[in-house]
């Protein structure tokens, strides 16, 4: 990460570490508060047969709240990470190029089953990101899926999520 320490004024547009730090801390404060509230509703006190269900989680929530509040305070008013870059937009592109296909893939697994979706995912990724020929991409994608089918369904007898195409083939 050679570009890790550009100042905010440099040509590369970027997100500052402090902004992300503060956002995450704020989310954690809400998270902690939700835990405390939900534990309080369950009963966070001392019941007839000892500590109630919410007793332990209530204090866990409290500690999340406190530590996130300190982190928020430090990131907004502290001097430590001033000018530090969390990620540049240029670097974020490849991250989304990985994340977006992954999300589509998981949706595909849900709808088409794991084997078909994996074949398409691997072949598509190779074709688009790696510029391989369609034939090579499909061979690798199909090969990996067939290998996993053999390993899981035949060797380990662990059935994975299947969709309409496997059903049509009679599995």
């Amino acid at each position: 990460m050679e570009n890790g320490n550009h100042s905010e004024g440099s040509a590369n547009r970027s997100i500052s570490t402090r902004a992300v730090d503060a956002t995450v801390a704020a989310v954690l404060i809400v998270f902690g508060a939700v835990i405390m509230y939900s534990s309080y509703q369950l009963g966070a006190g001392w019941g007839a047969e000892g500590p109630q269900s919410g007793y332990f989680p209530f204090y866990i929530g409290l500690m999340i709240l406190i530590s996130a509040a300190v982190t928020l305070y430090q990131s907004v008013l502290g001097k430590a990470d001033r000018g530090k870059v969390f990620v540049e937009y240029e670097q974020l592109k490849p991250v989304f190029k990985m994340l977006a296909p992954t999300l589509v893939y998981v949706l595909g697994v849900q709808l088409l089953g794991i084997y078909v979706a994996s074949t398409i995912f691997i072949a598509g990724f190779m074709r688009i990101m790696g510029k391989y020929s369609w034939l090579k991409s499909l061979l690798v994608g199909g090969g990996v899926s067939v290998f996993f089918f053999w390993m899981f369904e035949r060797q380990f007898l662990v059935p994975l999520h299947k969709g309409p195409i496997e059903a049509w083939l009679g599995f």
Partner: protein
């Protein structure tokens, strides 16, 4: 020598063709996992864990622990040949390993790395053999307050020994506890924090979290850094191995020191990563060639590798003897024991002697198998790294998804895995440590149970934690650890501290 008899019995259990086959399979899988980005010891074991449910327990733990040894060995290959640490604990190995490879001494660097890994692991296994039964016997007297105090010490040590913001360490840990609490409360049968979602009834499985945080998160980080594998070629033949071995004995003092550092950091939850850095720093300070460190010194490879393996191996001691894992991978193995219906902790040595001693014996055998495998198969493993990332990345995501799905046969878990992946990416970049999160997620229920039982005994009075000398001193020590960041600041101010550490920037970003 009761331990020797038990150990010999363990060898009888472990030495079957089936188990030896699994050992080699585990090591090879482990090295591949260690070499690939996005797959590491913790999530590799997590992915394969559901596949071992059909095996006998002892065989399953032998294979899974061998994957762990393999991953420990594998990290060194990428560090030396590609200057890319395959695992966080091999970051320090790149400092001198890669310069050696650039000078064409890759074979010597790898031999030194593997051999010192082996030595570190061996010393740690010997220690486990003799110390674990004693610790277990001692812990048999523990009641709920004592157990909770040991949990407390484990978690407070993260704050005390961790680098970076103590508040972030605390937050990460508490998130783990909070996620562990979701679902059915085993004591009262009430539902906690499910907010009406039926999918949340099962709670958050740590296996899914580990696969997402370490697997998907790591892949996203790798994409951002735009990694391209360009490396040196490594040739190892018998002559190079023997030449390097002839050189190694003169580093015995470094080796010994690194073993001690590693064993200590492994038993306490410091872990392999800080152990390797600490050991490298100490070797640099005490070696007469200290100022040449970083230019390709064999000693600079020996120190971190010995310590990392000693730490990684001795992390299993508290797991076996107390039921408290010393590292994320040990935590996953502990989760495996729980799934197999074995109760880790002091009673394991009494009730499951076959299992425990079979496992300990397999640690000796597994590391010998590991040394043979890595010394003979380096070119093959290096070739895996030359497979382009556009093929490897989707395949790893497919493997992770299958792994997450097989935990409960639930699609919801696969979505959760992606979510954990994004969280892992952001947390790593913000220096929220993932190890305490995972440990808290695994141990959450047990820690809460012991806390509740202790509170019941004490009728809600916290003084139960100071009711006898043992529990009192552990709790006090835990609190010292918890407030160590404050205490050390005060101490430093008192004698205007001098701090000269090893490079730590990369360690913090890749800590596992």
């Amino acid at each position: 020598m009761e331990e020797i008899t038990s150990l010999l019995h363990g060898f009888q259990v472990a030495l079957s063709w089936y188990n030896i086959g699994l050992m080699f399979l585990g090591i090879i899988l482990g090295v591949i996992i260690g070499v690939l980005p996005g797959l590491g010891g913790a999530n590799g074991v997590a992915i394969l864990l559901p596949l071992t449910f059909a095996m006998p327990n002892t065989s399953a733990i032998i294979m899974l622990s061998c994957i762990y040894w393999g991953a420990l060995f594998g990290g060194a290959i990428t560090s030396v040949l590609f200057n890319i640490p395959g695992e966080p604990w091999s970051v320090a190995t790149t400092f001198d390993g890669y310069p050696m490879a650039q000078r064409g001494q890759a074979g010597a660097a790898l031999t030194a790395a593997f051999t010192s890994s082996f030595v570190g692991a061996l010393v740690a296994v010997i220690m486990i053999t003799f110390l674990a039964p004693l610790v277990a016997k001692f812990a048999l007297r523990f009641g709920p307050p004592e157990f909770f105090s040991v949990y407390l010490l484990t978690f407070c040590s993260f704050v005390g020994m961790g680098k970076g913001s103590p508040f972030k360490i605390l937050a990460a840990m508490m998130i783990g506890f909070a996620l562990a609490a979701v679902g059915m409360d085993t004591v009262t049968g009430q539902l906690r924090m499910t907010f009406g979602f039926t999918e949340l009834l099962r709670g958050f499985d740590f296996l899914v979290a580990v696969i997402g945080l370490f697997g998907i998160g790591e892949i996203l980080l790798t994409m951002e850094e735009g990694l391209a594998f360009k490396g040196e070629t490594g040739k190892i033949n018998l002559r190079i191995v023997l030449q390097t071995w002839a050189q190694l004995p003169k580093f015995w003092i470094t080796s010994l020191r690194s073993c001690l550092v590693g064993c200590w950091m492994g038993i306490t939850p410091g872990g392999a990563t800080p152990a390797s850095f600490m050991s490298y720093g100490l070797a640099k300070k005490f070696s007469k060639d200290g100022d040449k460190f970083g230019t390709g010194q064999v000693e600079g490879v020996v120190a971190p590798e010995t310590a990392a393996h000693a730490a990684g191996t001795s992390a299993l001691l508290p797991m076996l003897a107390l039921g408290i894992p010393g590292s994320p991978t040990a935590a996953v193995l502990l989760g495996g024991l729980l799934i197999w219906g074995l109760q880790p902790g002091p009673l394991l040595f009494v009730e499951q002697a076959d299992f425990v001693w079979g496992l300990i014996a397999s640690m000796y055998l597994g590391n010998i198998a590991g040394l043979i495998v890595v010394l003979t198969m380096v070119p093959l493993f290096a070739a895996i790294l030359r497979i382009p990332f556009s093929i490897i990345a989707p395949v790893i995501i497919v493997i992770c998804s299958i792994g997450a799905y097989t935990v409960h046969n639930a699609m919801f878990d696969v979505w959760l895995m992606v979510l954990f992946g994004v969280v892992g990416y952001v947390f790593k970049k913000l220096d929220y440590p993932l190890a305490p999160l995972v440990l808290a997620l695994v141990l959450g229920d047990k820690a809460e149970d012991s806390f509740r039982q202790a509170m019941l005994v004490g009728q809600g009075d916290l003084t139960i934690f100071w009711s006898n000398g043992l529990v009192g001193s552990i709790v006090t020590l835990a609190l010292v650890m918890l407030f160590w960041p404050v205490i050390s600041k005060v101490l430093a101010r008192l004698r205007s501290g001098r701090l000269n550490g090893v490079p730590e920037g990369r360690a913090a970003s890749t800590e596992q």
